[in-house]
Structure formats: structure tokens, C-alpha cells
Amino acid sequence: MDVVLWGVLPYLVVVTFVGGLVWRYRYDQFGWTTRSSQLYESRLLRIGSPLFHFGLLFVIVGHVVGLLIPEEWTDAVGVTEEMYHAGALGIGTIAGVATLSGIVILIVRRRRTGPVFMATTKNDKLMYAVLTSAIVAGLATTVVAFSQGSDAHNYRESVSVWFRSLFILRPDVEAMASAPVQFHLHVLIGLALFALFPFSRLVHAFTAPLHYLFRPYVVYRSRDRRPTPGASAPRRGWDPVGTRDRDPSTRR
């Protein structure tokens, strides 16, 4: 069982994740968007969205540091286990709470604002469920660690070791199996999230427009090579107007 969960599953997820992204990028450029709902409602969005996204950026940095940097390295530069944990817990909690409250605001907004709810697909709902549970489970590990004080499980000796071992294709299943159950849960939900990633609106993260900082303001391009709308079979975005497309049963 452990081998399946910690030795096989991660690789399946990687294949789905990478394969899915490549597939989506090649075949669904048109669907690759944030699908913003700001047009319908922006008061709550203006609070929730930055809270969530900035919180998430910190969370991501935290994960990268915690998972990729071996304990020996931080030890070598004189950071003790206590110092590290205090820092990680502190920053992690703040970022985690910000992310969680951000997403809670966004979900409440999504449910309570009629038009936004109408524009929510099944895919979105699933994505929100998995994303929120991942955040909650992640925060749970932190809360447990808090309550145990200095006896807290040192994930850098279990989860991180396993995580790095994945990259050299010799998964250290024992290390992961030895971690407490809240970590198992968090990792599993995380894997689900990654498997879902390429097929949800989350893909917009991969086209974060950092090149904006460097490109010229005015873009010249020669005429397009792709067919014009009138010249091809109706594509998405060319549905007829009506209330039917608002009807969940006929909506895509």
C-alpha cells in the first residue's frame, strides 16, 4: 500500500500533470484563461483575490524551501532546528491563514453572487473543493505542530527526504510512510490537485505574464494565419445568445 501511494502514485500524477499541460497548451489555447468573474462582482473579489493569491505565493515559496533544501544545508549555515521551525511555523501560519481566508471569501462570493454562481462550472466546483482541502490539510499539519511544541514531527526528515528522492527515481517510501497521518493526507490531496491542475482554470498560473516587464509596449504583428470565424465551423465563443446558455443542463 505504501509503495502504491508513495512510490507509484506520485509518478502517475507527474505524468498526468506534465502530459495534461502539454496537451492543453497545444490543443486548448482558447480555453486557457483565468475566466475572471470581475465583470459580475468586484467588491469582494478585490479583497479576496489578492489575499488568496499573495498568500499562495508565500505558501509556494515556503514549500519550495521546506521540501527542496536539505536539513544539513540549513544546519551548516547555523540555523538550528528550533529556529527553523519557529520561522516556518510563523510565516507559514500567516500565509496559510491569508490564503485560506482569501479562498473562503472567494467561495462565499461565488455562492452568494447570482451571476458568479451561474458562471461556475462543475469543473470549478471540484477544483475549489480540492484546492480548499489542500489548504486546510496543510494548515492542519501546522496546527498540530503548534500544539505539540518541540515534540512536533520534523517533516524535513521524512516528507522532504521522500520528496527529493522522487527526483532521483528512487522513492524513499519508508521515509514518507513514517510521517504522521496529517502529512499523508496533505500530500495525497496535493497530488490530487496536481492531477487536476491541467484540466482546470488553474492553468492560468503557468502563463503568469512576467515577460510583460520586458516587452515593448506596442506589438506589431503580420496578418494572422488562422481561419477567420466565418470560415470555420462554429467554435466556442460563438454560441447563440439566449437564456438557454445560462441553463446548467445545457451548459458546457
Binding site: G114, D224, R226, G230, A231
Partner: protein, 561 residues
């Protein structure tokens, strides 16, 4: 000097009757889809009025376009690149549906389906956003024809400004009010702020003709362009999550047809032609310190297509000869630069807009006539232009960043044309002192009259076709300009009629359309090689090829035309 070609439009506002035909045909052509119900690539606003979306001209609120920063350099009003990336998670000033309107339809089905009863069934308004019952409270031109202006007129940002500057002079009293229509499409700016705000770089300007387009496959829905465009002519498709905008009907333009809005314009007030401009100097022109100099700076960018140096430079840049020829015959160049009667809309946004307007003389003429004056007499007209400050100030806020000199100059030329031509028409002879008074020759004035008043189809639209040999494919994959003139299509290939490469529908459709629109009668049979495109069939008669051939007696071939 880097010469580039720009397809541009001029609208002669005096002739707009506010019929909204352009908006409707444009909508039918481009935004008749779910997700863009509220989108009007072309809209017609009554001025004074709030415009669409409401009060879009108030850049203090909407922060569109460019300003000069402290160092006098051109900067987006929303701030620098880093700042704008940091605010990407929630656009600070994006208009909401409320600022446009909630699109609706009617529940027509109940009219048919309702069970027999005592009450008449009613088609209730249904929101196209939620699908629920809704109350219709606003739309894209709720204040059409000054509707509600006595109550809401002060909300027009320009009225606000003119009032502030001239101490409450605009009153919406019936006898003192003035009104005109302002049809608006995307300006296809030379220095577009929508493009500059797009983080993904999905908005681009076509190098060949300057049309500004959104690449639907590269737009990621960051919606920064919506804030960026001061004219609010980029819209968010709430279904696909992508930005959409006026396309200048590029598939039509590529085969030499005018845009749908221009083609269907009832007042025949739209002109389409080519400008040659110096792309190297655009930023410089857009950064002149005084807003009132922006009009001149923009005019300066437009190069004289007769100038041998310009022609040589254009050749070097690979602009084809027929484009240069079109530039020489360009009605937009004539109106904007030769006669100087067309002005850009809101040059103070510093985007160098490429849809120009001949400001309306009618507010002045109407007021004169209503007061019992002779509205064609040059003396009266000239005097009135000086005296009627309010309409002039209002027009100046729209077209010249508040410079009333320029506007009244244009109106003088239009007024002179009116009087001069009245003399000619009434056989009083041409009074050459009238054109001289506004610095024109009688000949130029007559030519301007022809262009503005007679406005023949082929003088209004001088549109060179797209060129294949510039090294790019036309609009469809695998399409070459074998299709240039339409025939050549449906030629049987190696394996019988349906083999070979498919004929791009757009080419077929638009060529046939052009043929029909520019010739008398219905399109000749040879055009379609014995086939009929039903999209273009106007219902007149039975064109040959509508039905498959039987082994009919000879002579059937010609159809029943």
C-alpha cells in the same frame, strides 16, 4: 522615417441621424453570441450624454489612456509595469456590468406555450446573465435623443467640465439645448494603451494595415486592456473569459470591402481610406507636453502620399504600389489633412486615435434657424460660430482637448462650404470671397463638397486589398491568392470535384459579396462556377446553380435573370 500604412475612418457627424443601423449590423455580424450580449463594437451616443459605458470619458475615475509622468515621459495612467503586475489579481478600476447594463431578452416562449386562461400571457424580461426575471433599468443608449437629460445631463463628464470652466452655462432648456450623435468604434490607435496594458502581449497591431486585434488564443483574461483603453472599446467576454474588440471587419477589408458599419450606414457618413504615417515618431508625437498640441502633432505624423521622399521610403518598407496609390486617393487623408475638417476624438488620451470626426455644424445651424435667422448666410453663420460658445466648447472638449480655435476653424470651413454652394446652386454664381475668407480656393472647396455631400461609394471607400506577396498567408491556412478574384474556386482537382484543397469560405463569401455590391444586378453565374452561396443570395429570382442541373434543354443555362 519608418513609413507604415494605417487603415482609418472618418465620420461626418453632420449627417448622422442616430438610427443605430451601424450598431445593429455590427452586432449581428460580430457580437451576436453568448458572452458578449452587452458588447457593442459600434455604438452611437447622443451628446450631450453619458456615453457607453456610463461616463467612460471620466479618466479620473476609469484611468484609461496615457499621461505624462513627472519626467515628462509617456506613462500609462494606471501606472508602471511592476505596479500593474502587482494589481493583476483584481483589476482596480474595471467597469462592472452595472456600468454597462445587464443584458436581457424576453421570455417569448410563454406567449406561445401559456395554457388557456383568463389573462393574456406576457413575455417577461429575463436577464441574459442569470437567466432570471429582471427589471430593465438601463441600456447602451438609455439617454438616446437626450432622453432624461434634464435629470441626468449633468453626469456627462464633458458637460461637467465645460460647466466648471464657464460657470454653469450649459442649461438643458429646450430652446437653448443642442444635440448631435457620436457613433464610436475602436479607434485602432497608433499608440494604443490597450496594447500597452496587456500583460500577455495578446493585443497586436497588424503591420500591414494597422488594425488592432486581440489574439484570442493568447489572451489569458487578465482584463488589463479594459482599464487601459480610454474609449472603453475593449470588452470582456464573460463566457469565454477573453477580451474582444472591434476588428475593423478585417476579413472584409482584406478583399477591399468597407466595414459592416460603414457599408450599412444610412447617412453614408463614413469614409475609409489609408494613411501613411511615420511610425518612428509616434511616441514623440504622443508625448508633447501641451494637450492642445496633440492634434497638430498627430496631424504631423500623417505623411503626404504625393511627396517623392515619402513614396521612396514607403517603397523601401515594402508598401505595395496599389497601397500607395490608395493613399494618394485616400478620402481620410483629404478630410483630415488636406481640408483639415476631420478631428481625432479625445486626442488628450494620447493614444493617437485613427477614427476621425468632422464636427457637426448642425448645433449652430439649428439654433440659428430656430431663432429665425438665415442659416446659410455666411455672415450670420460666422458670427454665430463665434457667439455660440457652448456648443463650440463642448465640441472642443471632444475633439481638440479644449482648443476652441481649431474647432471653430473647422466649423468656419464647413459654414463657408454651405454658403458657397448655396450661391452656386441658386445660380447666384460662385462667390470666391467665401472660400478665400477661410483660406481655401473655390476649387478645393468644391472638391470638399463633393466628398462630404455627394459622397460616392467609391470615393468614400478607397480600400486596397491585402497582399499575399508581402510574405504572409492571407486569412486561412493553405490559402493563396489564387483566390484573388473569386474564380479559380471549385476548379476540379486531380480526384474529381471535391478533391484538392478546400476553398476558404471567407474568401468565397467576401469576394462574391464584393462582386454583388459593386455591380448592378445580381452576381453573374460564372462567378461561382455554377454554384450558389446561399449566404449571399438576395432572394431575387433563381440564380443558376441554385438547384442541381437536370439534363435540361439547352438555354436553361442562363437562369431566369
Amino acid at each position: 522615417m519608418r513609413v507604415m500604412a494605417q487603415v482609418a475612418m472618418v465620420m461626418n457627424l453632420d449627417k448622422c441621424i442616430g438610427c443605430h443601423t451601424c450598431s445593429v449590423t455590427c452586432k449581428q455580424a460580430w457580437t451576436n453570441r453568448a458572452g458578449v450580449e452587452y458588447v457593442w463594437f459600434n455604438n452611437v451616443e447622443t451628446r450631450p450624454g453619458q456615453g457607453y459605458p456610463r461616463r467612460y470619458e471620466d479618466q479620473e475615475q476609469w484611468r484609461g489612456g496615457w499621461t505624462l509622468n513627472r519626467r515628462g515621459r509617456l506613462a500609462l495612467r494606471t501606472g508602471g509595469r511592476a505596479k500593474r503586475l502587482l494589481s493583476i489579481f483584481a483589476s482596480p478600476v474595471q467597469p462592472e456590468l452595472e456600468d454597462y447594463y445587464e443584458p436581457w431578452t424576453y421570455d417569448y416562449e410563454t406567449l406561445v406555450d401559456a395554457p388557456l386562461g383568463d389573462d393574456f400571457p406576457v413575455a417577461r424580461p429575463k436577464s441574459l446573465i442569470t437567466g432570471k426575471d429582471t427589471k430593465v433599468t438601463w441600456s447602451a443608449n438609455w439617454d438616446d435623443n437626450l432622453g432624461g437629460t434634464s435629470e441626468l445631463g449633468h453626469l456627462d463628464p464633458i458637460v461637467e467640465k465645460v460647466r466648471r470652466e464657464s460657470e454653469d452655462k450649459i442649461k438643458f432648456e429646450l430652446e437653448k439645448t443642442f444635440m448631435f450623435y457620436l457613433p464610436r468604434i475602436c479607434e485602432h490607435c497608433l499608440n494604443p494603451s490597450c496594447m500597452a496594458s496587456c500583460p500577455s502581449g495578446a493585443i497586436y497591431k497588424r503591420a500591414e494595415d494597422g488594425i488592432v486585434l486581440v489574439d484570442q488564443d493568447r489572451c489569458r483574461g487578465w482584463r488589463q486592456c479594459i482599464t487601459g483603453c480610454p474609449y472603453k472599446k475593449i470588452y470582456f467576454n464573460h463566457k469565454t473569459g477573453k477580451a474582444e474588440k472591434c476588428t475593423f471587419c478585417y476579413p472584409r477589408l482584406e478583399v477591399g470591402l468597407p466595414t459592416v458599419c460603414a457599408e450599412t450606414c444610412v447617412g453614408r457618413l463614413r469614409y475609409i481610406g489609408v494613411f501613411l504615417y511615420d511610425a518612428d515618431r509616434v511616441t514623440e508625437a504622443a508625448s508633447v507636453p501641451d494637450e492642445k498640441d496633440l492634434y497638430e502633432a498627430q496631424l504631423d505624423l500623417m505623411l503626404d502620399p504625393e511627396d517623392p521622399a515619402v513614396i521612396a521610403a514607403a517603397r523601401e518598407q515594402g508598401i505595395p504600389a496599389d497601397w500607395l496609390d490608395a493613399a494618394r486617393r485616400s478620402p481620410v487623408y483629404a478630410l483630415a489633412k488636406k481640408y483639415r475638417v476631420a478631428l481625432p476624438l479625445h486626442p488628450e488620451y494620447r493614444t493617437m486615435p485613427m477614427v476621425w470626426y468632422v464636427p457637426p455644424l448642425s448645433p449652430v445651424v439649428d439654433l440659428l434657424r430656430d431663432q429665425g435667422h438665415d442659416a446659410e448666410d455666411p455672415g450670420t453663420l460666422f458670427g454665430a460660430i463665434e457667439a455660440l460658445r457652448i456648443p463650440i466648447e463642448y465640441l472642443a472638449e471632444l475633439f481638440t482637448a479644449g482648443d476652441t480655435e481649431v474647432v471653430s476653424g473647422v466649423l468656419h470651413r464647413l459654414a463657408a462650404m454651405r454658403s458657397y454652394l448655396r450661391g452656386i446652386t441658386l445660380d447666384e454664381g460662385a462667390d470666391e470671397s467665401i472660400p478665400a475668407a477661410v483660406g481655401m480656393t473655390g476649387q478645393a472647396m468644391y472638391a470638399m463638397y463633393r466628398l462630404l455631400a455627394i459622397a460616392k461609394y467609391d470615393e468614400r471607400y478607397v480600400i486596397p486589398k491585402a497582399h499575399e506577396e508581402r510574405g504572409h498567408e492571407l486569412e486561412e491556412l493553405g490559402c493563396s491568392l489564387d483566390y484573388d478574384e473569386g474564380p479559380g474556386m471549385y476548379e476540379s482537382a486531380a480526384f474529381g470535384e471535391a478533391s484538392g484543397r478546400p476553398v476558404p469560405v471567407a474568401v468565397e463569401t467576401f469576394h462574391a459579396l464584393r462582386q454583388r455590391q459593386t455591380s448592378e444586378g445580381i452576381s453573374p453565374a460564372e462567378e461561382m462556377r455554377g454554384r450558389v452561396n446561399l449566404l449571399n443570395w438576395d432572394g431575387v429570382g433563381t440564380p443558376p446553380g441554385l438547384f442541381p442541373h437536370h439534363d435540361a434543354p439547352a438555354g436553361d443555362e442562363g437562369g431566369e435573370r
